[in-house]
């Protein structure tokens, strides 16, 4: 599904990733943990194609395609989905219009027929109610005035509609209370299937009780320094990153 080889990347001349290697198989869920500033978010942004990052070395192959050559929107069409750590507020654009433009763009890319307004409404309402999202919220401008939990739920709704094959969850647990965490995780788990994979980026082990990963990687100093099973997350939670000889936050601002 995803193969990252010797990835070096920088932003504004600052080196963030320094030789990252990662292999994610079909149907697998990997967690990426690591201290602040280690490059976790950079990795997810690079995979999604956010402008501003420069890859100086290495390559990323996704389903056999050179991901770095695809535009942001084409990656989405190909099934890459980034659930944002800080979902963006878009005043003046209703949630419904956002979702419909998004879904139909992706369907068009995938050679599927675009949905009519009525078909879309039915689908979106159904998915929204599964996630406990109020209809009223969908008519409001995208994320404007939403609580942290509402924003994250909205991300999962988008994921449910776009049915990605590679989901990137960037600190999806931040800002969530326990109930919201459960709803969001259940929403994600419902999407798990043998042809869908995910990278779950998180700072804490808590999320991994709900979304159980096949592998856990520790990202520090721009590369993966440790890989293990789900027990690694438990151990880290208990002992801290110090057990790997690094300190949380050591690279902040580096």
């Amino acid at each position: 599904m995803l193969s990252v080889r010797n990835l070096h990347a920088e932003i504004e001349g600052k080196k963030i990733l320094k030789g990252l290697n990662l292999d994610l198989g079909f149907g697998e869920v990997h967690a990426i943990m690591g201290p602040n500033g280690s490059g976790k978010s950079t990795l997810s942004y690079l995979l999604a194609g956010r402008p501003g990052y420069e890859v100086t070395q290495g390559e990323i192959y996704y389903k056999g395609k050179n991901l770095l050559e695809l535009s942001v929107e084409d990656r989405s069409g190909e099934g890459v989905f980034l659930a944002f750590q800080y979902p963006v507020e878009i005043p003046g654009v209703s949630g419904m219009s956002f979702l419909r433009n998004s879904l139909n763009s992706v369907r068009k890319y995938r050679g599927q027929e675009e949905l009519s307004a009525a078909e879309f409404l039915k689908l979106a309402r159904g998915k929204a109610s599964e996630l406990g999202i109020d209809q009223v919220m969908l008519n409001r401008p995208v994320n404007v005035g939403f609580s942290g939990g509402e924003k994250k739920r909205n991300e999962v709704l988008q994921m449910a509609l776009l049915e990605p094959s590679l989901a990137l969850l960037d600190e999806t647990d931040s800002g969530l209370d326990i109930d919201a965490l459960k709803i969001v995780s259940d929403g994600f788990n419902a999407l798990r299937s043998p042809d869908r994979s995910a990278l779950v980026i998180t700072h804490y082990q808590r999320l991994l009780n709900h979304i159980v990963p096949d592998k856990v990687h520790v990202l520090a100093q721009g590369r993966i320094i440790e890989t293990g099973g789900k027990d690694l997350a438990m151990e880290l939670e208990e002992k801290g990153y110090g057990m790997l000889g690094i300190q949380d936050g050591e690279l902040e601002g580096a």
């Binding site: 929107e73 963006v88 219009s97 139909n104 763009s105 992706v106």
Partner: protein, 432 residues
Amino acid sequence: MRERNLGQGLEKFSPALRNYVSEALSFDAGPEALSGLRSHAREALLETLPLGRSERWKYTDLRRYFAKPTRLADAPGVVSQQDLERFLIKGYARAVFIDGFLSTELSDLEGVEWSALDEKIVGRVADIKSTGFVALNSVLLKDGFSLRVTKSQPQQRPIQLICLTSDKLVGEIHTRITIEIEENIEASICETHGAIGSGVGLCDYVIEIVLGKNARLQHVVHQQASQDIHHVVTRAGRIDEGAKFTGFSLLEGGALSRSETVLSLTGAGSEVKLYGIGLMRSRQHCDVTTDIMHEVSHCNSEQVFKNVVDGQGRTVFQGRVYVAPDVQGIEAHQLNRNLLLSKNARADSKPELIIHADDVKCSHGATVGDLDEEALFYLRSRGVSENIARGILIRGFAAEMFEVLNDKTIVTYLDEALENWLLCADYDGGLA
């Protein structure tokens, strides 16, 4: 003798302008009943016409127009019912002006209380001594109309004032409209300014508005003009005790356009809300100038204007708030936000607060910026192409203003105009 005095100082102007002014000063073909107003206005004409530099007309320069002014239009062009169709709001009564002249055939004023210009009201609110077009309009106005919404004849249907220029127009239009809403009465009026074909010249409307005690007026404006029209609308209003004026404008410019709104809050509990969107592209110019005068204690105003400027378009926002000496308990806020879509687009923003009192809460703000890169990335990461993502964000920036309106018909009407503008400017605003 008198004429020579009035024309004093003309020597410095071009022969064409000299000629224009002396013709204006000798013009007397306006309504008989307004001859008194005309003669007062003649005296103020040279001082008030924005022929040179002045603070109030700093960003909107009419000198080029006045160097080669056109002549007064003598008769309206021909416009068919079919031409009119695309300007109509369903369910509204309407007064239709073609090249500045009221067309009774095209109008539908059943159930509306109206008359020829009522000399008791004309000139009562608009100040002929203010720099701008009021004096010129008073001198040269040929036609107009007085509208009243009263207790004995309340509004059955909202009223649309449709002011169009015809393809035939080469010249100047000077027209006056007065609107009077009696106390405790509620009304909804929409001004639609548009062009059929490509007229050339100057379009000058002065609109005087009087709101009686506790009256309510929703005043919507949709303005378009042909690219060779200089479009100037001056609205002057007096808002009495407890009355509420809510204005919403969607302005699309012209060769040059100016929307000037001067409102006096003259009674406690009165309120003015002015909202607007300017959509400029190619070489269009749009000037929104407001002057809100808090004359008494306990009256509030709020203004929010947003502009989307593309191509070599240009917008001006001059918002002035005046608070009279010794009044209390005033709230006055204004905000101007500009979205510049091209390197050559320009927005000038000039808030001005003149406050002679202490117990006042005032704020003003202005922003100028490009599209939000984060939002652009967000949309693209959801599969939306960059071009459509831009369109969606531009649309959202403007459409956010509609949230202040509760009137579904009007929102649909304005949204359609926004949609058309986006299409004409080659932006795809995506699916609604």
